[in-house]
């Protein structure tokens, strides 16, 4: 709206009371995601930081290869660890991305489009990652050794 239109509409009195702010339908979802961001964040401190320290400082990127990964994944505990890490990180990140999209992309159509793309990419990634971890069969890899 132009400034002029805005200002010229002012000959009317301001009335107290009765002002209705459009109520968002997703209130409960907002509380949930707010809470989820904190909880997943706290869980991620353990998972993500341990993951970083292990691969970057203990193993060292220079020494990384498929073998090392496979060895580690042979242990179901570490596979579960990774499932949790991937799931929490991606969902947490997805919701974070939603915050940014809702902030910066205000045109409705465009917003829906971008959301669809980002949600799809993240969810597909999540499926790929989790599927790989869950269907991983250590036995089939011992041949390489």
């Amino acid at each position: 709206m132009t400034v002029a239109a805005q200002v010229d509409g002012r000959g009317e009195p301001r009335r107290g009371g009765g002002y209705d702010r459009p109520k968002g339908r997703l209130a409960n979802f907002e509380v949930f995601s707010w809470f989820f961001m904190r909880i997943s964040g706290l869980v991620l401190i353990l998972l993500a930081l341990y993951h970083l320290i292990w691969w970057n400082l203990v193993i060292g990127v220079e020494h990384l290869d498929s073998q090392v990964v496979i060895e580690r994944w042979s242990n179901p505990f570490w596979r579960l660890f990774n499932v949790l890490l991937v799931t929490f990180a991606l969902l947490h990140g997805l919701n974070g991305a939603r915050y940014s999209i809702e902030d910066y992309i205000r045109r409705r159509g465009l917003q829906i489009a971008v959301k669809t793309i980002v949600y799809s990419v993240v969810l597909v990634t999540l499926v790929i990652g989790v599927y790989a971890l869950l269907t991983f069969d250590p036995a089939s890899f011992f041949a390489i050794r």
């Binding site: 709206m1 132009t2 400034v3 002029a4 805005q6 200002v7 002012r10 301001r14 107290g16 009371g17 002002y19 209705d20 702010r21 459009p22 109520k23 968002g24 997703l26 209130a27 979802f29 907002e30 509380v31 707010w34 809470f35 915050y99 809702e102 902030d103 910066y104 205000r106």
Partner: protein, 233 residues
């Protein structure tokens, strides 16, 4: 008296396509208010410079504006605190009516939307309702608000979304939610438990830093969030 240069954003929708910056040199004491310097421009150099002001001592909330990039009351910043060259712009996020005057109607609409008045339908006693010193203390901070809008217009969540109810409205809801005499906390919490309510706040603290009354706004918002969470249980 040393010279100070004021670089002021001017915009007159009757004549201008877009805002321009104009510079004015004025004599000002270090202990003068920025408002005094602006006044002296208006009174003796360029009468068309337009802004709101009234009390001149930080109590009426008229002259919130962006001074050197951050929201301030022009009457509560002294020249000695801003240096020899000051940039002055209108609050961000509201429509500019002229120069430093922005349209405050949406702001007051946000304020009105949180039931900013005491609700207590139980018959009033003969004398005052009593309230312990501690009960009074709990919401003391948020009673200081002068509705200057410095907070709301400094909030990135508000810049992004003008439907966000904004820190000022939450502050004024807090003032009643935590008043032991009020009976409508649940209703207000329900209003604020909304995607355009407290959950839009990303604890950026710009509001707290901007508040000329030094209200700990983000803390008040945090208390409201907690109240919503614990009332949901």
């Amino acid at each position: 008296m040393p010279m100070v240069t004021l670089r002021i954003q001017r915009f007159d929708p009757e004549n201008d396509q877009r805002p321009v910056y104009r510079e004015y040199a004025v004599n000002a004491d270090p202990t003068d208010r920025v408002l005094d310097a602006i006044n002296s421009v208006k009174w003796y150099q360029d009468g068309s410079l337009t802004y709101r002001r009234s009390c001149a001592h930080g109590i009426c909330g008229s002259d919130a504006m962006r001074i050197n990039g951050a929201n301030r009351l022009a009457c509560k910043v002294l020249i000695r605190d801003v240096g020899a060259k000051v940039t002055i712009e209108p609050l961000m996020g509201f429509r500019v009516i002229k120069d430093l005057v922005v349209d405050m109607e949406p702001f007051f609409a946000q304020f009105r939307s949180v039931l900013p008045y005491l609700i207590n339908d139980e018959g009033a006693p003969e004398r005052e309702r009593t309230q312990s010193v501690h009960e009074r203390e709990v919401y003391d901070d948020t009673t200081k608000c002068i509705l200057c809008a410095a907070c709301t217009t400094s909030c990135p969540s508000f810049w992004a979304d003008e439907n966000f109810v904004g820190p000022a409205a939450i502050v004024n809801a807090h003032r009643f939610i935590f008043d032991s005499r009020d009976k409508a906390a649940a209703e207000r919490l329900d209003i604020l438990n909304d995607r355009e309510g407290v959950w839009r706040c990303r604890t950026v603290f710009n509001c707290t830093e901007a508040c000329p009354r030094e209200i700990r706004i983000t803390k008040a918002i945090g208390e409201v969030k907690k109240a919503i969470l614990s009332s949901a249980r």
